[in-house]
Symmetry: C3
């Protein structure tokens, strides 16, 4: 147990007490699962994407989650509009650059959102995150194919460059704000067999960011919580359908006390990062 | 057991025998769950939202369900177009004013649909329903925050004013057409932890309205059925993921006989309504 | 066991080894379930529908699945654009003409996609397939109502006319390319109580088409696999909610060896087709 584990437990308690409203502009595939995950966790999800509604909606929210998984031009405009309003209000903006690097539209949109929408935290897999640094990394759709032993160092540099916190998820998760870097263990291989578990990690990070003004500790808390929930689900289920239900159940039943004592968050000195991480992409 | 319980059982049998087609123009978050709920119940769901298709589609349907949970302008136009056609054909139109009161777009759209689309039944939580009476009630997104001991009396007045039946759901449900008022007990606290259970109640009301020309008895039947299914699911599951699956199962397994003997519908004299209901919002 | 059963097992092994990317432009209702089914099976789903993205996305894919379940004009344009690119690259295009025959928009769109998008395989229920031959067959939404003892013969003629492989699913499935015709047994009545099982069959056919250049054997393999998974799920669950979860689990746990020994694919001589099939529609 360390300070980050204590912080994770404290953040989870805050979510359960205050039920923060998380405004999601996200992809069609995961909307239902993401909303259910937020409800199970203790947050209040709202989905709204009309350009003529998002500014008003985000003004009530504790966090804004932007996810580019099923883009089209009206949705991009709504994301930019909502993000600008969130930035003006000091509301945290969390970006999930789904498939960035796979198509030009996604890479450009992710880059544009980071530039224009006041993003405070980005959560993606290694290839998505890498694509934000260097276009054309040739990722293969939503599934990462880059093996990047030095992803954590690159993420740290990118976090500094962009002035954001970055979370890379995979068999091991890395969170960095350029100054602090942490590694989070947990999760289960079946998480890669359920659509939208990455998107759900991002939405959960939104809920934690709504109660914790430090995006680094918010992201560490969120991924430690989600990773532990994934482990729990993996003890209940051995195939993807029952696993995805067990995962929702675990988000509901996991207590702050259990999170504090069972989660795995290691603070990494920047220099050791690359050597420790190995293959990050799924 | 009373006349409304007998009617509920009769209506359920009719749905199981005739599999009425329910045309939904609904939000992205709940489409899948709503469709599965209607199938489990015994109805035939269809989702279609293109402005150049909805008139033809609704002409085959036994009921039209309009849900404003994830609005945008083309969808609003489709709802108005479909509603006008349904009205012209005498097909019941059920509105779920999701988040009305939370944003201007939602409140205006709900009001416009009621005015232009021939709505016969409205199902919402207390704050959504109240927003239809008085704009700017300041609800907090989809989750109701108004505590309204007099919601039932207001709903009765509003039903009379708008010429519709109104159903307010919460820990206790109220159905009123301005003349008759009923209170329905049932459900389970986990229903608030599954996204779209309110939307599902509305869709189920659509299925009952397709077989029962009286919107008041149709709504009472639907909420009594759904409430009992929620109770059953709560006996099977103790966390949201497994609960939402158990709820679909209960919609399928619950028989008309069980509904008749186990549901809780009380006819309320208008004068007693306010005193009996207490906190309606979740 | 016959050559088609051996082929089905071989194709399943190939999917599990190569995780083919299946690009879906599909309806909102089934996106989540379809993506989860593809992941459970061993394929990699991607959903992308923006006209300015689909050409690039489909260029990475092993198959393109077009599903007209919730149409609107921008999506139609994207389907045509993606299909034209797939055709130019020799990538298999699978069409699910959801509700074709029910509305003019659907029938025309299905017909247009077949004409312009290089469709190699069509999967639908009997009335949807019949509508492609003859507009105005008056189907009742997504649910088939035509009883067509001679559907298989008509499908065979239609396959020849359109130069595609056609799969008709129902209590018995028929696959024909105009020269070869097969009948596949399997599945479970609860499949009709879960939304999108037809759409899922189509998406699974996309995964099989990505690893098998012969659309006829790919479709036979896919339906034999899905039918056996349905049977398995039916042994685990007796109501729609738990059935839909058990079905995802079965897609993951079913092995090529089990598929080879337990699936039911009969090669039918064209002349016998009509007499053998009986009522195809659900």
């Amino acid at each position: 147990m360390n300070d980050l584990a204590l912080k994770a437990a404290e953040n989870l308690s805050r979510i359960r007490e205050s039920n923060p409203l998380v405004h999601n502009i996200t992809n069609y595939v995961v909307m239902n699962y993401t909303a259910n995950a937020l409800l199970s966790l203790g947050a209040s999800p709202v989905m709204a994407h009309a350009e003529n509604e998002v500014e008003e909606m985000v003004s009530f929210a504790g966090a804004l989650v932007l996810n580019i998984g099923t883009l089209s031009d009206p949705w991009i405009r709504a994301m930019i509009t909502a993000g600008a309003r969130a930035r003006a209000m000091g509301t945290p903006v969390i970006l999930d650059p789904v498939g960035s690097g796979a198509t030009t539209l996604r890479t450009r949109t992710a880059t544009r959102i980071i530039r224009e929408a006041g993003v405070t935290l980005i959560r993606g897999n290694a290839s998505e995150i890498l694509s934000l640094q260097q276009e054309g990394s040739g990722t293969r759709g939503v599934d990462a194919v880059d093996t990047v032993a030095d992803a954590a160092n690159m993420a740290s540099d990118l976090a500094t460059e962009l002035g954001v916190t970055i979370a890379i998820t995979g068999p091991e998760d890395i969170v960095t704000d350029g100054t602090r870097t942490a590694r989070i263990l947990g999760g289960h291989p079946l998480m890669a067999k359920v659509t939208g578990t990455g998107c759900t990690a991002t939405a959960i990070a939104g809920a934690f960011a709504a109660v914790d003004p430090d995006p680094f500790t918010a992201a560490c808390s969120a991924l430690a919580f989600f990773g532990l929930a994934g482990q729990r689900a993996g003890e209940q289920a051995s195939a993807p359908g029952s696993f995805m239900i067990a995962l929702l159940d675990a988000l509901y039943t996991l207590t702050p006390e259990e999170l504090k004592s069972e989660c795995h968050i290691d603070v990494l000195p920047p220099a050791e990062t690359a050597g420790e991480t190995g293959k990050l992409s799924r």
